[in-house]
C-alpha cells in the first residue's frame, strides 16, 4: 500500500486489523499491533514524506503472526540510538513512537541511512 496523506492512515490500520482478526489474534495483541502500526505509519508520513507499507502473514513452527514493513525514501535517521530513546523527538511530539512500538511488538528492526531513507520491520506473533 502506498501512504502519502493523512487520510491513508485509517484504511491502512483497518487492513492490519482485518488480518489480525482473521488470524484469531487476541484483542490485546490486535490493539498493540494496530497501535504500533499507527505510530510507524505516522512517522513514515511526518518524517519520511510518505512511502510504502507491506502486510504479510508469516509462520514459525506452530505460531503464526503478522509482519509489517514500512519503507520510505525520506531523510533517514542520523542517530538511531538517540531516536530509540523515550522522549526524543525532532517533531515536537512525545518521542514515544519508536521506543513504544518496540515494546508493543514481538520483533522490531530498524534500518536507516541518511539521505536515502528508513525501513522499519515489525512482527507480532499471534500468541506473543
Amino acid at each position: 500500500m502506498t501512504i502519502v496523506k493523512e487520510q491513508d492512515v485509517v484504511p491502512f490500520r483497518n487492513r492490519v486489523k482485518e488480518y489480525a482478526v482473521k488470524m484469531g489474534m487476541s484483542l490485546v495483541n490486535q490493539t498493540k499491533l494496530i497501535t504500533a502500526a499507527s505510530e510507524l505509519v505516522r512517522n513514515l508520513l511526518k518524517y519520511g514524506k510518505g512511502g510504502n507499507v507491506k502486510i504479510e502473514v508469516i509462520n514459525q513452527g506452530r505460531d503464526n503472526g503478522i509482519r509489517l514493513t514500512f519503507v520510505d525514501q525520506g531523510p533517514g535517521i542520523e542517530n538511531i540510538e538517540l531516536a530509540m530513546k523515550d522522549g526524543y523527538s525532532t517533531g515536537k511530539s512525545m518521542g514515544l513512537g519508536l521506543p513504544g512500538t518496540k515494546r508493543l511488538v514481538s520483533e522490531f528492526n530498524i534500518q536507516s541511512s541518511v539521505g536515502k531513507g528508513t525501513t522499519v520491520t515489525i512482527i507480532k506473533w499471534k500468541n506473543g
Partner: protein, 290 residues
C-alpha cells in the same frame, strides 16, 4: 475524400440524435426519476451539436486535439452533475456508449465500401473511447467531491457536546482523533464551557479504536486547555486493551483523571461537585408525613 465520416455525420445529425435517444430508451441506463426526458434530450442535442461542429477532417484522428476542448467541457459538466445527482457509473457510461452506437449505426447505413466503413468506424471508435475515459474521470472526480464534503460534515456532526447535568458536559468521541478533529473537539468544548459555565467535562473515548502517542498528545492538550478555563476534565471509556497498550507505549496519563466507563466518570463528577444521588425511600417519607 479522406474522411467521409465527418461530412456524413454532420449531415445526419438529426438521425443520430434520434438513434441515440432510442438507444438510451432501450438501455437500462435511463433514469427518468433523476432527469426528465426533455432535459436529457436537450443535453444530448447540445453535446452532439458541439461535437459535430468540432469534428474536422484532421482532428478525427487526433482525440487530444484542442478542438474538442468545448466538447470535453460540456461532457465533464454533464458527468460531474450526474455523479452528484446519484447516477451510477454504469448509467453514466451507457449514456456515452449509446452515442457511439448511434454514430456507428449511421456510418454503417451510409458507407457502402467495407474498407472505408472499417477505417472510418475505427477512427470514430477511438475518438469516442477517449471521450468515455474523460467521462469516467470526471465522474469519479464528482464523487470524490461528494465524499470530501461528507467527510467535513461528519467531523462537524460527530463531535457533539452534551449537557448531562448542571455544570457537567460530556463529549463522546467516535472515530480517529486526528489533528483537525482535535481542533474541532477542543473548540466546541471550550465554547460550551463558557456558555454553560460548566466546571466538569467528560471526554468519552469508548468509540476511539486506538490510542497512539499522537491521540494521547491530543487528549492531554485538550485536558490542559480545559484546566486553563478553570474546569476539570475526566477521560472515560478506556477499555482494558487500550489501557495495556497505552502503558506499554510509555504514555503517562497519571496527571489525568481516567475512568473505565462514562457512568463511573459521572459518579466522580458528582463527588467533585459534592452532589449525592440517593434512592427515594417511600416508607420513610410517608411515615414522616403522618
Amino acid at each position: 475524400m479522406k474522411n467521409e465520416a465527418v461530412k456524413i455525420l454532420q449531415k445526419k445529425k438529426k438521425t443520430i440524435l434520434e438513434q441515440w435517444s432510442t438507444n438510451q430508451l432501450a438501455s437500462d441506463g435511463l433514469r427518468d426519476d433523476l432527469i426528465s426526458n426533455e432535459d436529457q434530450l436537450a443535453q444530448s442535442d447540445e453535446l452532439l451539436t458541439v461535437f459535430l461542429n468540432a469534428l474536422t477532417d484532421d482532428n478525427i484522428e487526433d482525440p487530444a486535439s484542442y478542438d474538442f476542448e468545448k466538447v470535453i467541457d460540456i461532457l465533464s459538466g454533464i458527468s460531474i452533475s450526474r455523479a452528484k445527482q446519484g447516477f451510477s457509473s454504469r448509467e453514466t457510461g451507457v449514456y456515452i456508449f449509446s452515442l457511439k452506437d448511434a454514430l456507428l449505426t449511421v456510418l454503417q447505413q451510409e458507407i457502402q465500401d467495407p474498407t472505408m466503413l472499417y477505417s472510418q468506424s475505427l477512427k470514430i471508435n477511438k475518438l469516442l473511447d477517449n471521450l468515455t475515459v474523460i467521462t469516467f474521470e470526471t465522474f469519479i472526480k464528482g464523487r470524490e467531491e461528494v465524499i470530501l464534503r461528507q467527510t467535513d460534515e461528519i467531523s462537524e456532526i460527530s463531535t457533539p457536546v452534551i449537557r448531562v447535568w448542571d455544570g457537567v458536559l460530556a463529549l463522546p468521541i467516535i472515530g480517529t482523533l486526528d489533528s483537525s478533529r482535535t481542533q474541532i473537539v477542543m473548540e466546541n468544548l471550550l465554547q460550551e464551557i463558557v456558555e454553560t459555565g460548566s466546571s466538569i467535562a467528560i471526554l468519552d473515548i469508548s468509540g476511539v479504536p486506538a490510542v497512539d502517542s499522537l491521540v494521547a498528545q491530543h487528549l492531554i492538550k485538550t485536558v490542559s486547555a480545559t484546566r486553563l478555563m478553570g474546569a476539570e476534565c475526566i477521560i472515560s471509556g478506556i477499555r482494558p486493551e487500550i489501557a495495556q497498550t497505552v502503558v506499554h507505549l510509555g504514555i503517562d496519563l497519571s496527571q489525568i483523571i481516567t475512568k473505565s466507563t462514562l457512568s463511573s466518570a459521572l459518579k466522580t463528577a458528582f463527588q467533585m461537585m459534592q452532589l449525592q444521588v440517593v434512592k427515594k425511600q417511600r416508607e420513610k417519607v410517608s411515615f414522616s408525613k403522618i
